[in-house]
Symmetry: C3
Subunit: 353 residues, 3 copies
Amino acid sequence: MAFSFSLESIFRVLGDAVRTQGDYRGQVTGISSLSAAEGGDLSFLGNPKYRSEVPASKASVLLLPADYEGVPVENQLFIHLESPSFALALICHEIERMIMPQPEPGVHPSAVIHPDAKISEEASIGPLCVVGAGAVVGAAFLESHVCIGNKAKIGDGSYLFSGVSVGAYCEIGPRNRLQSGCVIGSDGYGYEYMDGQHQRVPQIGNVVTAEAVDIGANTTVDRARFGSTYIGAGSKIDNLVQIAHNVQIGQNCLVVSQVGISGSSELGNGVVLGGQAGVVGHIKIGAGAMISAQSGVSKSVEPGAKLRGAPAMDMALAGRLIVLQRKLPNLFKRFDQLEKSIEAQLNKSTNDD
Amino acid sequence: MAFSFSLESIFRVLGDAVRTQGDYRGQVTGISSLSAAEGGDLSFLGNPKYRSEVPASKASVLLLPADYEGVPVENQLFIHLESPSFALALICHEIERMIMPQPEPGVHPSAVIHPDAKISEEASIGPLCVVGAGAVVGAAFLESHVCIGNKAKIGDGSYLFSGVSVGAYCEIGPRNRLQSGCVIGSDGYGYEYMDGQHQRVPQIGNVVTAEAVDIGANTTVDRARFGSTYIGAGSKIDNLVQIAHNVQIGQNCLVVSQVGISGSSELGNGVVLGGQAGVVGHIKIGAGAMISAQSGVSKSVEPGAKLRGAPAMDMALAGRLIVLQRKLPNLFKRFDQLEKSIEAQLNKSTNDD
Amino acid sequence: MAFSFSLESIFRVLGDAVRTQGDYRGQVTGISSLSAAEGGDLSFLGNPKYRSEVPASKASVLLLPADYEGVPVENQLFIHLESPSFALALICHEIERMIMPQPEPGVHPSAVIHPDAKISEEASIGPLCVVGAGAVVGAAFLESHVCIGNKAKIGDGSYLFSGVSVGAYCEIGPRNRLQSGCVIGSDGYGYEYMDGQHQRVPQIGNVVTAEAVDIGANTTVDRARFGSTYIGAGSKIDNLVQIAHNVQIGQNCLVVSQVGISGSSELGNGVVLGGQAGVVGHIKIGAGAMISAQSGVSKSVEPGAKLRGAPAMDMALAGRLIVLQRKLPNLFKRFDQLEKSIEAQLNKSTNDD
């Protein structure tokens, strides 16, 4: 993906005091790893183990550690820094701001805003969005095809990509980032079997997210049966995750793609759930616990625990079992031999008697 | 989530004959568990094991069993009932009707309705919906951004939340509830490898749902290769489920979140599939079978069977294997010791000889 | 699902030279298997094992192998062919073209097209689509509620169903088929823990798809951190799949529903990933490798390998372990017995001494 970013912009980000070597006068038109970089690219030495790749790199601009000792080739610029990775992040943020600028405030004429909705003057409501009766939208960004239900609230600085749906009464905190297609406030999956049918249990709660929550594309968060399904400050939810009704997620949790969390379960602060893991309902996962990808958590988990497997168990034990399982064919074989040799011995003993 | 529901409304739902104790004159502004309730909340004793939590509950109104013997505190109302849980459900239905009223009939001016579509006068078509040529929409509710394909049919009393897509020729039965973002009638995943490429096999069937089917947010149901992918009456599908082409689902099935059902497989009536379970193609799962979460069903299942694991096996055996697997480290150790002790014994015998 | 297709159309597809037997003069109104077919249906004998079902089939038109020797009943037409399956595919393609005709070129007046976007005169942009600034749309089909981000590109002959979102700068190749609700170009899931918070790492790359790529309903493909997330020519992605940032997918791969591929992993040409399989980040899966459903691939895979299980292992070993695991209860029992009998023997020996 090509863009055009000037050296002046880079020095504006990094400060003029950085030490440079060599000379390059063009634009930066891409970012790439040392080995994949081509002319025009910015690259970086973030991990010392790639140090040997620097001399052969075709990148035009390289972010290098202060103590890097090589020399640039012709038409190549070295920039020496305490932390090339951190410098790269700063530059990428600047490029992101340039190539994906925040939309201007205002409401697109094709958007359908209910007369009772309250929209901040700083809000940016893109084309074909719908905002329902009594909804309150702060200084937020709604891209396109976003649907905000009746009496829902969207906090300042939040960014809702195209096709996001926030259901009635749900409350999105400030500085949230909701990726395309995520559904906040779908009905909880609650039924009671009565008169030969599954009768729907009313789901009259909502979803509340605190500040700086990210929610991935096509992820679904069900509204509470009553009260609120809750996602704490700074928690980051990946794509295609299912969060059931009345789930409570603490602060700074990481929930990786395709995880499913069943109803009323609670995650303490800083919990990490690996991709495709599943969590049954009505349990507590203690703060700082880490659950491996594809695990199945079937009962409450102590804070700080590291679990793996289905059903999830201590990570070390799970690793041990994986090793031993592969030795099962041999164990069965050894066992058969042992039985035979003992039998032979017993026969022999018997004969000896 | 706060709302305001009057005591008069509650007695209208429960009938005036219910026995009460104590006095509370405000509005009910929330529903909560006994321990989490605050002033203004309605709470309930549904499960006897929480009986001891009643005296300390701060709820303003409590639904209690007829035989509950405690006394309310000041400004607190007890309502005695045969079944507090059932009473709660009735009240919640009433609150749901109040806070999420069904939209009025009519077509929003921003909706795009093909002149050949046939829309019931009782239908409610929300903003920015699209209804295709030849489609037939009964007395149904389409929230917003809903797309009804050409010649599709939507039954009376069905509710389609924002962003639902019903593909061409698909038929949604009466009183269905389709959550946001679900896709009904995507192409089946069918290819034939020919001339060095995967050639798409035409998918010219549709999806048909019977009455009272619920489909979760961002769930996908593929159209049949030919004929119909079918979901039977009263079956409830959760969020992010994949139902492949030509799958046949019986009546009153429960399919929990993130389940995947491969092409042409059949579920009998009353089948329950736990979250994240997978079902291979072209098999039959007998009526009333229950499959645990994360299981992998690789062959046909007898009616009433209870299976677990991947590949799925009898639930009791699966439980036994889980226990035994954790004993594997010990088994290997015991085996090593046994081998050694036998060897020693053999050597001894040999020496004795 | 009923439609109406004439015999003339069938002979136009198959050619007039085909040998027929019997007589049927109505329309073909459906396609069905031999056993399920009713009057008006077309059916076929694709697999010799169903040969015995032909005489009882109620289908009005049957596609049969050239050497089939039975005779049609009254009002039934046999068509003899080298390959009935191939003939069926040709007919289905023709029916698909008839019942789901490609929309006419043109931009629906309700679509919101940025003045800087460049739309081919042959493009068909359906109702309520949004095309952003600088976007380039070729001779493609956008159904409805499709969102094309700023500077994104859509190749000729591509078909985007309702509710598809293609993010800024992403590039969809020619003849792609994007099912409803798929999200191309959501943010990659990248965070660095700094100052007690997960700081978002800018995701300034895009997604690029080559020609003839299919992407399933509600599938998500994240944009690259920098550079491109890439899907190679002819690869077919099913519904609800997660493809993380910087993933590289080769040509003619098959990725079945609910698979998750973590960041920066690479698939060679012709890789097949079974449903619900998971792939960790930063690994390579060699060309032609096949991974079973629900497997967990935790390290790089050799070309042509066939793996199964979590963690994934050689398919034969995995099958062997599944068999042995079910013998564990017996093994534990045999082991207990062996220990006892040896103990008894040892005691005996001791007593003997």
